[in-house]
Amino acid sequence: MTPAAGTVFLVDDDPGVLKALTRLLRASGREVRAFASPEEFLSGHDPAIPGCLLFDVVMPGRDGLELHRELAASGIERAVVFISGQGDVPTSVRAMKAGAVDFLAKPFDDHELLSAVEIAIEKDELLRRIRAERTSIQNRLATLTLRERQVLEHVVSGQLNKHIAAELGTVEKTVKVHRGRIMRKMGAGSLVELVRLADLAGIRPPRVQPLVG
């Protein structure tokens, strides 16, 4: 399996460790951007480049967890792996709760590190794909007319055409025409796919009175 392409953004205050990890990651074919401090990272980080974060936890000033929190707060979402020389349980729990892919206690084996990085990069890739798909769906949704949008909401909630027509004060035939247009505009081959796209785009069915019961 060829590893997913992606840069590792490495931050560690210890120059020896920084150099060694950079070397190890490069030896395994990874692209690495190494930073000796959180500040250096913040000024040199490009969110557009695919890849993951590899943060040391114990650093003077901002520690790794804080740096990650700050990044998330500014809307940058990237998979992260933490490494620490003081691998205490509370810190690792906090790290995992913050959404870390892994928390590695120094010293760690290369396989551990590389597989964690691998997973993180894959996760980043996935996130990027999801983000890209969501963007494309949003773009397609934007081409729907208001009426088509209303019909879509009712369709994904699983209503029959005649119910939708009754609901919207129109006839079943017109609803059928709208559905056809919606399918085409959204590029959906089936109703199931349309529902998935709507779900990804965050469209929820409107609240309706249940017909039965």
Partner: protein
């Protein structure tokens, strides 16, 4: 001196004798309080003077006008010798009415009477002043010096000088028909005799005479009664009966006088002399005995010279014997005291011959200390018994005693009979025992004390070590971090190299670099372990020259992980060129580490941005070095400042409360100080001062 014609009976003589001692005891007490005692003494002197004059008149050869025994001057002399100079004037003034009363009855002109008073006073004053000058102690006739001073000044010089004055006055007034020089001679002899019998008698009895009689054993009292009975009998037989005795019989009383001198001391012999004198003069003045055969003047001179010749040697003999007796008693007392001190001393003592170290004597404590009985030890040398644990000490003891005559506070290890070590402090002094040079050694057994000291030191060392280990335990996470960093670097470098090899991309430059990094990181890890090992080790205190700045940096490295993990911003001010201090590196590092950890813990509630730890070093004027550790915590509450360095005082839930007390103990053992102050702004500062030179012990 009277030239009275009256012959009043000497009925009051015995009264003088009995009242004098107790009365003169009062005279002695006059010192310091011339109140009622002073007046009583004055009255006593007046009465004695009057009665003395009466006795003087009684002992006058009829019809010769000169008294053979003129007592008032000597009584006055005795009174002055007994009393402090401040009351002399009072006593002389008291004697005047008595003098007038006695003399005016005999029809002597007033000018003559006053003149005599003047010469009588002069005699007493010369004698008393000179005696006082030469005998610091009260005159007691129990030493050659006392008797000599009395004989020269009181019995010779006083009468001689005043006799010149007296005779001159008599001649000037024109009283009587005697020429100047005969007058001088007559008065001189009369007063010498009076002084010889009155002053020793009065003074010896005044010095506790009555009490001594009461204390006397029945045997001694019987002896005294027998002696005086014999003396009286012999005296009466010779002096107061027939005038036709053999001249050699004059010496018959002498054995009794010698008896008194030998057996009864100065008091007894002076009393015997008085008895003899009274009997002799009584007989002579009443025309009885051997001194009534010639002319009146010749008789008087004969009896006086005889009595002077007898009494002076007796007084001297009594004094000499008394002196020897006292010296012997003192020696016996001192020997007894020494023997008691030696036997009952709470410390072991031994008497050792200096020439060969043979033990001559030892006390019970010595036996108990070394386990040898006296029989086993005496006659054997200290070397034979292997008393000294090492030869060098043995030699030193004998060398120093031989050289300086003694040894003080010499601590020496000794061995008892079982060969067990006994630590002792030896003091010794050379003495002669039966002409053999010895030393008396006193040993103070400090075995238990030294063991307790060693144990206390060992415990203190262990406690120091334990607190150090506890401190390192507290830092274990941070210390592991310091070790994990290089280990991580080494591992990753090595595995990177493996990957390069596996992939076939072998770049020699890259490999050189990797290996260089591995070496460097490995050394770094080694240093961390080395530092830790030193701190964990439980070693003896080692004072060595120490670079304080270096130690501060080293300790900061050790605490590095903890400081970072706690977000502490460290500032150091370590000026170069500090003098080296002599200190135990590990212990001072422990103190610093403890202060760093305390400071970081104190700042746990401080905002992250304000967590500053500032360490400063500074050269002190006296060559020492000061280190200060300042934090930005809440500071030390006033109520805790004084208790901060007490053992087991802690504000932390997990703290033992030993850190600061041990730290202070360490710094104090280095001859330095450790104290805390609150900062003017945020937090507290701990100060260490280490002197340049340190005592060798810890």
């Amino acid at each position: 001196m009277p030239q009275g014609t009256q012959s009043s009976p000497p009925s009051d003589f015995s009264k003088v004798r009995t009242t004098s001692p107790s009365g003169l005891t009062i005279l002695r007490r006059v010192a310091g309080k011339p109140g009622s005692d002073g007046w009583r003494a004055a009255l006593l002197v007046a009465v004695a003077y009057y009665l003395g004059a009466k006795v003087g008149f009684a002992f006058t050869f009829q019809p010769h006008p000169i008294s053979t025994l003129w007592l008032p001057n000597s009584l006055l002399l005795a009174a002055l010798v007994l009393t402090p100079t401040s009351s002399w004037l009072l006593l002389l003034a008291a004697a005047l009415p008595a003098h007038l009363a006695a003399e005016l009855q005999s029809g002597v002109p007033l000018t003559m009477v006053l003149g005599w008073f003047a010469s009588n006073c002069t005699e007493a004053l010369i004698g008393a002043a000179c005696i006082r000058r030469f005998c610091a102690a009260p005159l007691r006739f129990d030493s050659f010096r006392h008797v000599g001073a009395f004989l020269v000044f009181g019995a010779f010089l006083g009468p001689l000088l005043s006799s010149f004055l007296d005779a001159a006055l008599v001649t000037a007034v024109g009283w009587g028909q005697e020429a100047y020089w005969p007058l001088v001679r007559q008065r001189f002899l009369s007063n010498v005799l009076a002084a010889l019998i009155v002053v020793p008698f009065v003074l010896t009895w005044a010095a506790g005479g009555v009490a001594a009689v009461r204390r006397a054993s029945p045997q001694r009292a019987a002896e005294a009664v027998l002696l005086f009975s014999c003396l009286l009998a012999v005296g009466i037989a010779i002096f107061d009966r027939d005038r036709s005795i053999l001249p050699a019989l004059l010496y018959a009383p002498l054995p009794f006088l010698l008896w008194a001198a030998v057996r009864l001391g100065p008091r007894g012999s002076s009393s015997a002399v008085v008895t003899l004198v009274v009997l002799a003069i009584w007989g002579a003045t009443h025309g009885e005995g051997p001194f009534s055969t010639s002319s009146v003047a010749e008789n008087a001179r004969s009896v006086q010279l005889f009595l002077i010749a007898v009494s002076v040697p007796v007084l001297l003999l009594a004094a000499a014997l008394e002196e020897r007796l006292k010296a012997r008693e003192a020696l016996q007392m001192s020997e007894q005291r020494f023997a008691t001190a030696f036997r009952s001393s709470p410390d072991p003592m031994m008497i050792v011959r200096l020439s060969d170290g043979v033990i001559l004597d030892a006390n019970a404590r010595w036996e108990a200390m070394f386990g040898y009985s006296l029989e086993e030890a005496v006659g054997r040398s200290t070397a034979d018994l292997a008393l000294y644990a090492n030869q060098a000490d043995h030699r030193t003891v004998f060398d120093r005693i031989g050289k300086y005559g003694g040894i003080r506070d010499f601590e020496v290890e000794m061995r008892d009979r079982d060969g067990s070590a006994r630590q002792a402090v030896l003091a010794a002094e050379t003495v002669e025992v039966g002409g053999i040079a010895c030393f008396i050694g006193t040993l103070h057994d400090v075995t238990a004390q030294r063991r307790a000291e060693r144990e206390a030191k060992e415990q203190s060392r262990q406690l120091t070590h334990l607190t150090r280990v506890a401190l390192l335990g507290q830092l274990s996470g941070a210390l592991a971090h310091e070790l994990y960093q290089p280990l991580t670097a080494i591992l990753s470098n090595a595995q990177a190299a493996q990957r390069f090899l596996a992939s076939g991309r072998v770049d020699p430059a890259e490999f050189r670099d990797i290996l260089a990094d591995i070496v460097a990181e490995d050394k770094r890890a080694g240093e961390v372990i080395h530092r830790l090992r030193a701190l964990f080790r439980q070693g003896e205190t080692q004072f060595q020259p120490l670079d304080t700045n270096d130690l501060v940096r080293d300790t900061l490295d050790l605490a590095h992980g903890d400081l970072i993990a706690r977000d502490i911003d460290v500032t150091t001010e370590l000026p170069p060129g500090l003098p080296a201090v002599r200190a135990d590196r590990i212990q001072i590092q422990q103190v610093l580490l403890n202060l760093f950890v305390n400071a970081t813990e104190a700042m746990s509630q401080t905002a992250a941005r304000e967590r500053k730890l500032t360490i400063r070093t500074q050269a002190l004027r006296d060559g020492g070095v000061a280190v200060s550790v300042a934090d930005c915590g809440p500071g030390i509450p006033d109520t805790r400042e004084s208790r901060l360095f007490e053992p087991f005082f802690t504000t932390k839930p997990q703290g033992l409360g030993l850190g600061l007390s041990i730290s202070r103990a360490i710094v104090t053992a280095h001859g330095g100080r450790l104290w805390a102050t609150n900062n003017s702004g945020l937090g507290a500062t701990f100060h260490i001062e280490l002197p340049q030179r340190v005592g060798a012990s810890s």
